[in-house]
């Protein structure tokens, strides 16, 4: 053993530092809803707006983590992860619609307003069960997971990789968007779901419920991070990395790479579904726009900017890019798309390892 610190040891120290930074960041996020309770005159007061937008970003960070697991580790560049997010959101939305009960505009005891409007006599079969919170939560992970299982199985088995897989996933989310736009699908057409009233008996329009959802999202982010950490630090994670870099070589070692990729892809889709489910009650609406291909591409940019293949990078990217977006869309709304595109090009050309790469580069 040499006396100088090996690159691996330096790397491990840096990783520890990054994770400590993340822990402090999570603590800071955790006190935001408390600071919101301070009187407005207090300099430490955090506005309602900031709390609610941060809650959204936390959900985006979970989506970024899930995408990073698929792309950064397993090399599956999904341009359709927004679909898994949206499906999780729709599953939650269906539960929230059922929880409106007779309080809708039409006052129907069971049917959501849009169904009454469209002349439905009874709930479609696929709406049954969504009155139950545990059932809806199960669907939040099962529906995206099942879609990922089918799409993943068919494409990985046929050895569709790289840009073809990216196009395929993009087509998947686009097709779902068109389908959800249709009124006869039974998901509210282009209006989607909104006017939610309550969740688990708590009225959604109270600051208490908002804080509750904020904390639920934060806990989900921490848990997602720990799950991804456990996965990527195991031999399984190293198999994924190996598949990303030289899939065919992994096969010659006797690994069925299809099942390994499928496992990662399905788990990733489930995490994205959870993110979507936490997002919807916080923004109060879900519509087919969530399936828009642009959303999926934006998520890829978060991960690229933060640094793919590092979990902290994914979280960092989601907060940085979305922070920038919020600031820019109020300061110079017309500029945002150009900045986003420019950011992606700049990161690809000059910062292939993202912001994390920048930090690591200076750490050496």
């Amino acid at each position: 053993m040499s006396l100088a610190m090996s690159p691996i040891a330096a790397d491990a120290r840096l990783r520890l530092g990054l994770r400590a930074g993340l822990a402090i960041f999570v603590l800071l996020l955790g006190i935001m809803p408390l600071l919101n309770l301070l009187p407005v005159t207090n300099p430490l007061h955090v506005s309602d707006f900031l709390v609610s937008i941060t809650g959204k970003w936390i959900c985006y960070a979970i989506l970024a983590l899930s995408l990073d697991l698929a792309w950064g580790y397993a090399g599956i560049l999904s341009l359709g992860h927004g679909a898994f997010f949206a499906l999780g959101g729709y599953a939650m939305g269906m539960h929230l619609m059922r929880m409106i009960g007779p309080r809708g505009v039409y006052g129907h005891p069971v049917l959501p307003d849009f169904m009454v409007f469209l002349g439905y006599q009874e709930l479609p079969w696929y709406w049954l069960g969504f009155g139950s919170f545990p059932f809806a939560m199960l669907m939040v992970v099962l529906v995206p997971g099942a879609l990922a299982l089918i799409v993943g199985f068919l494409s990985f088995r046929s050895r569709i990789t790289g840009v073809y897989l990216s196009i395929l996933t993009q087509a998947m989310t686009f097709a779902l968007m068109l389908a959800f736009f249709r009124n006869d699908m039974g998901f509210g057409g282009n209006n989607g779901f909104t006017d939610f009233k309550e969740l688990l008996g708590f009225a959604l329009n109270t600051s208490g419920a908002r804080a509750g959802l904020f904390y639920a999202s934060l806990i989900a982010l921490v848990l997602s991070f720990l799950i991804c950490l456990r996965l990527t630090r195991s031999k399984y994670g190293r198999v994924l990395t190996a598949i990303r870099d030289a899939e065919s070589r992994v096969r010659f070692l006797g690994y069925n790479t299809t099942s390994h990729k499928l496992f990662a892809f399905v788990l990733s889709a489930m995490l994205a579904g959870v993110a979507g489910a936490l997002y919807v009650p916080q923004v109060g609406i879900i519509n087919p726009g969530e399936f828009s291909p642009a959303n999926s591409i934006e998520a890829v940019i978060w991960v690229a900017v933060g640094g793919r293949g590092t979990l902290v990078g994914a979280v960092l990217g989601a907060f940085t890019v979305n922070g920038l977006k919020t600031w820019l869309t109020s300061a110079a709304p017309d500029l945002w798309l150009f900045v986003l595109g420019g950011l992606f090009v700049a990161v690809t050309l000059f910062l292939p390892k993202g912001l994390i790469g920048l930090i690591k580069g200076r750490g050496r």
């Binding site: 090996s6 690159p7 456990r230 399984y236 198999v239 990395t241 190996a242 030289a246 690994y255 390994h260």
Partner: protein, 246 residues
């Protein structure tokens, strides 16, 4: 391993866009045998390994390992049957360390869940350390494979092959980029391995093949030109014409 399986190729042809890379090739490797395969560039040596390991499907012919038809299996299935391969261009995982590369190759359950629950126990660690000592990479255990020299990469891939504990080893040009003493070490290693396992070595270096000192098969234009001891093939007029005489 019980009594070992023989590798049996019969009438194997591979056609790429009308070009016959393998042409009615037949070859038998007995259990425990060490076989050298030589032949000019483009003779089809690598393609033969591609066919055995499931990378390339033969256009015609039979490929059996024991009773198993290899042409019906995928790469992973063939590897799990006990057929390991070292590539002509050393291929490993550059983003992983030497130790991690060997750990991935180590014979163990290959499914996602098994890998997730994998714990490096003392026995596995000892095996990896022994192999690292064997291939002279103990000092580099924690270095990324991507920064190794060409010779070291050759060694690492041989090490990965050993970790798989295969019944049949296919070794494509193992000593390219090695020093003379490393080449000797490799020859000794392969001779030691054979007996318990079957080994097929493709090599250009005739000194190396002589050092192995076993049966030699000469390939040319996709089929067997000559077979026998090194002295026999070196004196075979056809071999001299197409290969040695150049």
């Amino acid at each position: 391993m019980s009594e070992g399986r023989r590798l049996y190729l019969d009438g194997v042809s591979v056609v790429f866009d009308g070009f016959r890379a393998l042409n009615n090739l037949s070859l038998i490797v007995e259990p425990g045998e060490l076989r050298s395969v030589i032949g000019p560039n483009g003779a089809g040596k690598t393609t033969m390994m591609d066919v055995i390991t499931g990378k390339t499907r033969p256009t015609a012919g039979k490929v059996l390992f024991g009773e198993t038809d290899l042409t019906r299996m995928d790469e992973a299935g063939i590897a799990n049957l006990g057929i390991g391969r070292k590539f002509q261009k050393p291929t490993m995982f550059d983003a992983l360390t030497v130790f991690e590369n060997l750990e991935l190759a180590l014979k163990a359950p290959r499914g996602p869940i098994a890998c997730l629950r994998w714990k490096l126990n003392g026995e596995a660690r000892t095996r990896i350390e022994q192999t690292m000592a064997e291939i002279g990479l103990t000092e580099r255990a924690q270095d990324l494979a991507g920064i190794l020299s060409h010779g070291q990469r050759q060694w690492l891939e041989i090490g990965m092959l050993l970790m798989q504990d295969p019944e049949l080893l296919l070794v494509d040009e193992p000593v390219a980029g090695m020093t003379d003493s490393e080449t000797e070490h490799t020859a000794a290693l392969l001779v030691r391995i054979a007996g318990k396992r079957s080994v097929v070595v493709v090599e250009h270096d005739l000194e190396f093949v002589r050092a192995l000192g076993r049966r030699v098969t000469v390939l040319c234009d996709g089929s067997v030109l000559s077979e026998g001891s090194i002295d026999h093939v070196q004196n075979d007029q056809r071999v001299i014409e197409v290969y040695l005489g150049r």
